[in-house]
C-alpha cells in the first residue's frame, strides 16, 4: 500500500502541471535523426517549417515534455503534400497513432490530431515522431512540421 504522503505528492504535482503544452519545432530538438532542417515559407505558420531533410523512413525527432496524468490530444500543424509520409507519434516508446501527411495537392497549415492519449504518471515523458511508412500514392517520407501541441482533455 502506498504511503499517504506519496499519494498527496502526486496529487500536488498533477495540480501544478499545465493542460496545454506547445512544442515549437523550429529550435533544436532534444534528439533527432535526419530531422533538423529549417526552411522558410511565408505561407506557413511562423513562416517556417522543420522537416526531415533526408525524407527517409529512418528519420526521427523527439522532445521531453512534462505532462500531467490524464487524457490528452496530440495535435500537429503540418504541410501535406504528394511526397509526405505517414508520421508515427509515440510517447515513451509506445505508439499513440499515425498521421498521414499525403495529399495529391500541397496544403499548408493542416491540423491533424490523435485523441484519447492516456498518460498514467505525471512528470517528464518523451514524445517522438518517426516516418517509417507512407501512403501508397506518396513519393516520399517527408514530414514538414510547423507546430505541435498536447492538450489535456480529462
Amino acid at each position: 500500500m502506498q504511503p499517504p504522503g506519496l499519494v498527496s505528492q502526486n496529487v500536488d504535482l498533477n495540480n501544478r502541471l499545465p493542460w496545454l503544452v506547445q512544442v515549437d519545432p523550429l529550435p533544436t530538438a532534444d534528439a533527432n535523426v535526419g530531422w533538423d532542417t529549417i526552411s522558410i515559407d511565408a505561407s506557413m505558420l511562423n513562416a517556417a517549417m522543420k522537416y526531415n531533410q533526408t525524407g527517409g523512413a529512418s528519420s526521427a525527432i523527439q522532445w521531453t515534455v512534462v505532462l500531467g496524468a490524464g487524457t490528452w490530444t496530440d495535435e500537429l500543424v503540418l504541410y501535406r503534400g504528394p511526397d509526405a509520409g505517414i508520421t508515427t507519434v509515440a510517447l515513451d516508446g509506445a505508439t499513440l497513432g499515425t498521421l498521414d501527411g499525403y495529399a495529391a495537392a500541397g496544403t499548408y497549415n493542416v491540423r491533424q490530431s490523435i485523441a484519447g492519449v492516456n498518460v498514467g504518471t505525471p512528470g517528464a515523458h518523451v514524445l517522438k515522431l518517426t516516418t517509417p511508412t507512407k501512403n501508397a500514392s506518396s513519393t516520399g517520407f517527408y514530414c514538414r512540421l510547423n507546430l505541435l501541441e498536447l492538450r489535456r482533455t480529462a
Partner: protein, 156 residues
C-alpha cells in the same frame, strides 16, 4: 529520517516542485520584455522564421526575460540573423555570465541557431535571462543583435 522534498513542498507550499517544471522553455521575443535597454524594435521580413526579428543595435543594449527553471543542466539557444555589423552577445543568468555568442559573419545569414550548453542551474525558481550586447568581433562594424527566438532546453 530525511523527509522527501516533495512531501516538504506539499506541506509547506513554499518549495517549487521540480517535477512540475518544464524541460523546455520557448521565449517569444516579440512581446514586450520584462527589461530592455534600446532593444525593442520589431522588424518584419519574408526571410526569417517567425516572420521577423527583434533588434538592438547599440553597444550595451540589452533585453531580459524572467524564466522559471528547474534545477539541472540547460542549453540556451537562439535563432538570429548574423551579419557584418553584428556584435557578440553576453548571456547572463541572474547576473552571472554563462557564455557569449558571436553573431558576426562577413556575408550574413538568416535563421542561424547558436547555443551555449552546460548551463548549471542549482536551485529551481525564477531566473532573469539577460542578453547583453557588450562587445563585438574585431571585424564587425557594429553591435547589432537580431533575434527571432530564444529557447532554453534542459538536458539533465
Amino acid at each position: 529520517m530525511t523527509e522527501r522534498p516533495g512531501l516538504l513542498a506539499a506541506r509547506t507550499g513554499q518549495w517549487v516542485n521540480d517535477q512540475a517544471l518544464p524541460w523546455r522553455i520557448d521565449v517569444d521575443v516579440f512581446m514586450t520584455a520584462v527589461s530592455q535597454v534600446s532593444f525593442d524594435t520589431i522588424t518584419l521580413t519574408g526571410s526569417q522564421a517567425y516572420n521577423g526579428r527583434k533588434q538592438g543595435s547599440v553597444q550595451n543594449c540589452e533585453i531580459g526575460f524572467d524564466v522559471l527553471l528547474a534545477a539541472g543542466t540547460w542549453t540556451y539557444e537562439h535563432l538570429v540573423q548574423t551579419g557584418n555589423s553584428n556584435g557578440i552577445v553576453t548571456l547572463q543568468l541572474n547576473g552571472a555570465t554563462v557564455g557569449t555568442l558571436d553573431t558576426y559573419t562577413a556575408g550574413g545569414a538568416f535563421n542561424v541557431r547558436q547555443n551555449v550548453a552546460g548551463i548549471a542551474v542549482a536551485s529551481p525558481g525564477r531566473a532573469r535571462l539577460r542578453l547583453l550586447m557588450a562587445s563585438k568581433n574585431g571585424s564587425s562594424a557594429g553591435y547589432e543583435l537580431d533575434v527571432s527566438h530564444v529557447t532554453l532546453r534542459r538536458t539533465s
